[in-house]
Amino acid sequence: MNAFRGDRPSTKTAGSRKRPAGRAMPAVTSALAGVVTLLTLAPAAYAVDTALQDNRSEGRAAYRSKQHGAMEIRFGPYRPDIDEEFGGTATPFQDIYGTGETVMFGLEGDWQALRIPHFGTFGPGVQASFATFSQYALLESDPSQRSAQPTNMWFLPLSALAVLRVDVLYRELKVPLVPYIKFGATMTLWEATDGLGVSVVDEVAGQGISTGLTGAAGLMIALNPIAPQAALDMDNTTGVNSAYLFGEWMVSRVSSFEQGLETGDSTWQVGVTLEF
């Protein structure tokens, strides 16, 4: 959960140069930038025509379309770690919305820009999700009672990701499992409303944008082996090479590096992936 909290004391080595809180993040993002830059220098000659590879390995003349990317529909429980901001001294989110979670729905599109032979694919992706929380406000005269006035929140996380899918097991060993990892930057738009419009306190509007980092690790289960002919037909007619069910564990720290609302969460998500 705290994997990306580079500013935590536990992550510092004894000999490291002392940095102010919130300064470790640049190192992480810069490292990611380095990885991406290295990729730009990777020789394009390694790219392999997936269709050709499939035809050779399966020894049949059936048409398999080229594979360029993936699209995901996903959902899972979500509850932002807003109360972490207060270090246990206050729990405003829990006081209003309780301890439960809501369902977050999302869409993701990946460009599998690079095929690494005998390993998998790598490339950038974008993800957009949405979740809402709804409750009735507490009566100021008796906070144990709810009023009739709604107090709602919505969250719209937008992520730019680097996605690595290791499909060598599936493609070369015919084991229908594809592990993957994702890492990237997230920008979450959020808004608090009160049934009349955006909540405002002392002329401060209850809306904003939090930025941070997101990582996920998951496993996709290929559905093609269940109905190979249907999968081939789908490829021929729609260009979808493979369909998967997936489950992943996602960790995000999205608080504008402890300057904004912490909208990150550690949670699981499931969904469907289509590679095309």
Partner: protein, 384 residues
């Protein structure tokens, strides 16, 4: 030849020429017997112009008839094209299906009623027709004239008459009478919020009018809960509102009566709405200030597309009071976030540069891939 003969001839010739000019330029008998009313010559004058169904007469048009209530401001202006010669009269008759150009029908059957009778004047003269004359349908006008709920397709006949002889006529069919508003909600609950009242109501299926347009809310401070008042049974919900079996009374609001627009405190333009909110500030068409700690009586009336506002629902009482929403609680706890989407915090400068580096790297990567694919395509083209 008489010495004066040439002069007389000249005079006769000039006279004949002048007569010819007068006969050529003057109105022909056909012109004198024509009358026209175009859409631009028929104007509904109201204090607040209406964009939907501007030529229709609703209950408010009837109530605000400028003839019976001078200064109320509602009447019809007509500027017909006519070229009368002689002492003709312009009459406007109204009917629901009958042909008022037929003298027998017009004068004997009672299915036509006259709303204007004036001396026909030259073009561009404005004639006024008053809504209550049309709604009354020939009956005596009284306080109940506008309260009768009717939906009529009417025809206005503009007649140019010489005595009882019809010289010319034209019809206007764009004006209909619709004073029938949808019935009010059958039940209403209200609950207090922070300087706001949240409303919920129900409408029975058979009460839903085809031309329903929405609902209007009416509020009056000083609402009071009472027991045993027949016909004024609002229902209760959560805190600060009328409880079940208890009714609400408030000055200026009477269930079942047409509401006073001075008490309007909001509206919704959706006929399928079953909830609404009354608040200050923030509601555009509210004429009532809603304050915490004051008990308000609230009623809801249905509205239709012609602009009719129906009678008030049973009243219910509610008292706005301060509440604690998430953002209030968050800021009171010392929360640091908020300020709007433009107040975006990207974090420390270092991390921001890292994010830009990621974006730049992805951009370069994409460009290289795009360039490589173009080179491949060119190579394939040369091979082919």
């Amino acid at each position: 030849m008489h010495p004066k003969a040439p002069t007389q001839l000249k005079r006769h010739a000039l006279g004949a020429f002048a007569l010819g000019v007068v006969m050529t330029l003057g109105p022909s008998p056909a012109d004198a017997q024509s009358i026209k009313v175009e859409a631009t010559q028929f104007r509904f004058i109201r204090e607040e112009p209406r964009s939907d169904y501007p030529f229709w007469i609703n209950r408010e048009d009837c109530v605000k008839d400028d003839k019976r209530d001078p200064g109320a401001g509602t009447y019809i202006e007509v500027q017909p094209n006519l070229s009368p010669v002689g002492n003709y009269s312009l009459q406007v008759w109204v009917a629901r299906g009958a042909d008022c150009t037929d003298q027998e029908i017009r004068l004997t059957q009672g299915s036509c009623w006259k709303v204007l009778d004036e001396i026909a004047k030259i073009n561009n003269t404005i004639y006024k027709i008053y809504p209550q004359d049309i709604v009354a349908a020939g009956d005596e006008i009284n306080d109940q004239t506008c309260d009768k709920q009717v939906e009529w397709s009417t025809t206005l006949f503009f007649l140019l008459l010489d005595g009882d002889t019809l010289l010319a006529s034209t019809k206007w069919t764009e004006t209909q009478v619709d004073t029938k508003a949808p019935p009010p909600p059958s039940t209403l609950t209200a609950s207090g919020g922070d300087n706001a009242i949240f409303l919920n109501w129900t409408v029975t299926t058979e009460d839903q009018a085809i031309d329903a347009q929405g609902f209007a809310y009416y509020c009056s401070g000083g609402g009071m809960e009472v027991t045993g008042v027949a016909g004024a049974s609002g229902e209760g919900g959560m805190g600060g509102q009328t409880q079940a079996g208890v009714s609400c009374v408030a000055g200026g609001l009477e269930p079942g009566a047409y509401p006073d627009e001075a008490t309007r405190c909001g509206s919704t333009g959706s006929p399928s709405s079953r909830s609404g909110v009354v608040a200050s500030p923030g509601v555009a068409d509210s004429r009532v200030v809603i304050e915490n700690g004051v008990t308000y009586g609230v009623g809801v009336a249905a509205t239709d597309r012609v602009g009719n506002v129906g009678t008030l629902s049973p009243l219910t009482c509610a008292m706005p009071e301060p509440v604690i929403g998430f953002f209030e609680h968050y800021k009171a706890s010392g929360g640091r976030a908020g300020g709007g989407f433009c107040g975006m915090s990207l974090g420390p400068t270092g991390s921001r540069s890292g994010l830009w580096a990621v974006a730049l790297g992805l951009g370069i990567f994409g460009l290289r891939r795009w360039g490589a694919s173009r080179r491949d395509a060119r190579a394939r083209g040369r091979t082919a």
